[in-house]
Structures are given as C-alpha cells and as structure tokens.
Symmetry: C2
Subunit: 305 residues, 2 copies
C-alpha cells in the first residue's frame, strides 16, 4: 500500500521551494532560509486517547496532528519550516484513511507555508497512531522559551479557554501568526501553549522560569463551549473550572514586562483577544487572588500523560 | 508518568554542544554546524510488525528504532545531527519500558554524536509504538540520492545479506561511517540502504535513476545467518533466496562509475567487505545473468509495507 500512497501523495503535494529533495528517497532535503538554529518538536496522537476514530472525520484527526505541532512552534515564536508524518494504520482502513488524514493536514501545511518533507506509512492490526515532527526557525529575536519570565511580568493569554472537547480540540487555530506578530513588535519574556490545561501549563512556565504565578480567576476568558459544557453537565464543574483545567485550548500564555503588556492590551493587535489574567511573582507556586485581594493556592490541573 | 520520565532522562542525557536548548520546552533548538541544507527522515516501529515485545529485550527495540533512522542518513551519505523520539507505551509497562528503550538508543546516539532533541511520551491500552525522526547534514559533496545511477555504473554493496531475522535486524551497524568514508574518497552516483530486501531496494534505486540493473547472483555476499536459516528451514528457500529478499540487512547499495568502483574494490577501505554484484543498465527492470552470460528477469522481492 505504501508505494501506491506515496504515488498519490506525490501528485497531491504542492511544490515547496524549501524542499530541495522531497519524498521518495531515504531522507528529504530541506533548505534553510538562514544560517543558524533550528526548532524541532514532535507529537504523537493515538486512537482512544487523543481522538476516537469511530466518532470523528479522519480529516479532522490529520489536521489536529499537524496543528498541535504548529502550536509548539508558535509557543517558541518560531516560523514553521517543514514536517514529517508517520502513521500506523489499522489494516482494515488502509489507503482511504491515509488519504483522508492527508486531506486534513495538507491545507494547514499550505496555510503555514510548511514543507511536507516525508513520512513513514505502515499498516498493522492495532489502532490508528499518527506522529508528526515539525521543524521551525526562530526569528531574529531568538526563540521564546518558557524560561524567561521575571517577577512583575504580566501574564497574558490569547483567546478563551475550556470546553475544547466540544470541537475546538480539532478545529483550533495554531497561534503561529499571532506569536510572530507579538514577538516582532513587543518585548516578551516567556511563552507556552496550552495543551494540557491553563493552570498546568502556566505552572510549567512559572517553574521553568524559577518563579510563581498569581492568577485573577475573574479575568480568565471563558470559552462559550466551557459555559455550554457546564450547563449540560453541572456535576463536572463550572465553566471556570473547565477554563482552568480542560486543556487542548492551544492558546498562548505569555509573560511580558508591564509596559509592553500595557501597550499590547491597548493595541489589541491580533484578530483574537489578548487578556491579562495575572502576574509573575518571585515565590514559586500557583496562586489565585479573590476580588478582596486575598491570595490562596491554586491547584495546577490538567491532562497528565 | 511523562514528567517523571523527563526528569530521569534529563539526568541521563549527556550534554551535546549542538543542542542549544534541550528537552523540556515546547521545542528544542538545534544549532547547525554549517549553513545549508538539512536531511530529515522518519521511521515508526510497531509491536507485532517490526518486533515482538514479548520476545525481545526492549533495549534492542530502542536501539533498532534509532539505528534504522541512522541507516537512512547513511544512505544519503550524511552526518547525523539530532533526533526526536515519540512513544506510545502499553499502560501496563510504563516507566521501566520507557527507560529500557532509552538505554537501547542512547549508546547509539553517543556513538554517532547525535543530539537527542526531544520527544513525546504517551501511555495507552494499545501495543508499543516507537517513532524516531532524525536530522542530518549532507557533506560538502551533497546528498547521495537514489537518482544518480548511470548505465555502466558498477553496483557495490557493503557487508552480507539474508537471515537478519536471526538477530541482525536488531544488532546491525548503521553504515554511517562507511558511507562518509566512501563519499569523501571516491566518486559515487547513487545509494540506498537495504531495509526491505536487496532486490526490492536495488530495483528502487534503478527506477529512481531511470535505469535497470543486472545482478550476478553468484557474486552476492550471503550472510552466515542466511545459510543457517536455509539449513534449518529448507522449505523457505535457499540461502541465496534469503539474501535476495529478506530485508532488514541495513547494508548499503551503491552505484559508482567503473574506475571508482575498481579503486574501491582494490582498496577495500572499510572494516566491512565491499563487493561488486552487478551493473547498471539503460533498460529499465531487474535482471540476473548466469555463469554462461545469459540474462533473464529477476523478481524484485522483499517486505512491502
């Protein structure tokens, strides 16, 4: 099946100027735009864990596999460059499934000017597994890591949180353009994308920076889907609970010095809202302040692999 | 489990000067030695297809997952640079399995000066899947593709073929150093590594070059394991049959102009034998010649994914 699939893919793929040698050899050759460092990240999605093949159009699965990797490059404020995709296909599904996965991620690759540089297509008796590795280039300002946050920094987020399971977990927009736009115009100290949960990923950014974070729960932008979810299944928590811990929002958390944050909030330079939800503090840990200003611990919750 | 595993791995990993930012952020940062192009390749191995977890030390599985990717870089005559590893671990096996896989591939990474630049660790109810993506750099002479063979070229192979299932499928040596040594000293036109079968991969090299190939079966170097296999299970073919089609030898097939080939054969510059097994011809297809010089078609056999 692999040779038939590669032939189909060869005809389907657009030419990409960065791809000096494309699929079909033992390795592909990617031309780098500039000398320097390279970003690399990888994510594997599995049936029953990250999606349910029986319940969802496989094109959305293919799209998600690429989008979560693009989100990692966005979190580093990098430019996407190339990706490779490996799949283990259930034997019964075969070529139509392989093609549907591609039809899901190829539009995203085109949107983000990403060269599809190869892959590995396998059949087996197990469930669908799809693994994507992405390459990117940091901009002139360097990669935006999790490590640079300083006490006093404002914690900003793009978009809104919670309830991604109702659909946004597949259809989210990786914040690549947003990260590049902010990185180019404003001073940013640290960044991370929310894959596992707003509080969990924020606690990771804070820990990597050797700091803590104080969140004002009243300021957290709550997605419509989180409200919907809470309304239909009140036993599973409030809309705010979902926003704090659901995960798969794939929005950005950024730490910026107060002046830059003030400017960003005033400019609102993105198509998506930018919201201040708290502050970086010197004391390690995660905290919340109530309306009266009292501070108490906030549990870092989310999806642990 | 993932955070515990990453902590263990962070302590276990040697520092690598090419890795400006290692595991633990949204992406890793790899420093390129030189401006230019980048080789990228990926291979996914699955329980019951590429190995049987019940029957083999998981360290050998981890080693194999890395070694097959190194073999792809060898086939392009490139220098290995960095790799990322994703795994789907059976929930029952967990951390000990993850560590054993690492203990299998880390020595190989060190041997080939390969930076481990990240990965994705997942647990699920399915069988073990391990996916590796490798980056490499072509040398000054450029990448050695499958495409450059010319009629009249001599077909050379490293090592011996057949019976890899008796153990060499796990313990083979990726021919990275051999490919680099030959590429530096001699003119080579094309190359491929034998993953799916000598005749099948030779037919791929010939087809990619728009040529055919004539093989002298009497000259094929047959591995001891192929003889062993044929002796114990004569119904499954002769030792030569195994050498022609077993696959997972991970030796190199090279096409070189006659003068260069003659010199290489006389020099025998590698620790492993270099053998001429036939010739590239203009007419597409795969052929064998008998001792009397008569030519007849040779079936391209091997493992089709």
């Amino acid at each position: 099946m692999e040779s038939e699939f590669i032939a189909w893919l060869g005809a389907r793929l657009p030419r990409h100027e960065q791809l000096t040698l494309g699929i079909g050899d033992d390795a592909a050759l990617v031309r780098l735009r500039e000398r320097g460092d390279l970003l690399i990240s990888t994510d594997m999605l599995m049936d029953t864990v990250d999606f349910h093949l029986e319940q969802v159009d496989p094109r959305r699965i293919g799209r998600k596999a690429m989008a979560v990797n693009l989100s990692d490059i966005a979190a580093m404020a990098g430019r996407p460059l190339a990706a490779v995709v490996s799949v283990a296909l259930p034997r019964s599904a075969g070529l139509p499934l392989a093609k549907a996965l591609c039809e899901g991620f190829l539009p995203l690759a085109e949107q983000f000017d990403l060269a599809l540089a190869g892959g590995d297509t396998n059949s087996w008796d197990g469930p669908l597994v799809i693994s994507v590795t992405i390459l990117g280039e940091p901009t002139e300002r360097g990669p935006l890591t999790r490590r640079g946050a300083l006490p006093g920094d404002v914690i900003l987020v793009t978009g809104a949180f919670g309830g991604s399971i109702l659909g946004r977990q597949f259809d989210f927009e990786p914040r690549v353009a947003e990260a590049l736009a902010l990185r180019a115009r404003y001073e940013l100290h640290a960044g991370i994308d929310v894959s596992d949960g707003l509080t969990l990923d924020l606690s990771r950014l804070a820990a990597a920076s050797g700091c803590g974070a104080v969140v004002e729960p009243g300021k957290i932008p709550i997605a419509e889907a989180a409200r919907e979810f809470a309304e239909h299944e009140p036993s599973r928590g409030t809309a705010l609970d979902h926003a704090l811990s659901d995960g798969e929002d794939f929005e950005l958390i950024l730490a910026a010095p107060p002046d830059a944050a003030r400017q960003m909030l005033a400019d609102q330079p993105l198509g998506v809202p930018l919201t201040a939800i708290g502050q970086v503090v010197a004391e390690p840990g995660l905290w919340q302040v109530d309306a009266a200003g009292a501070r108490r611990p906030l549990e870092a919750r989310g999806f642990l692999h």
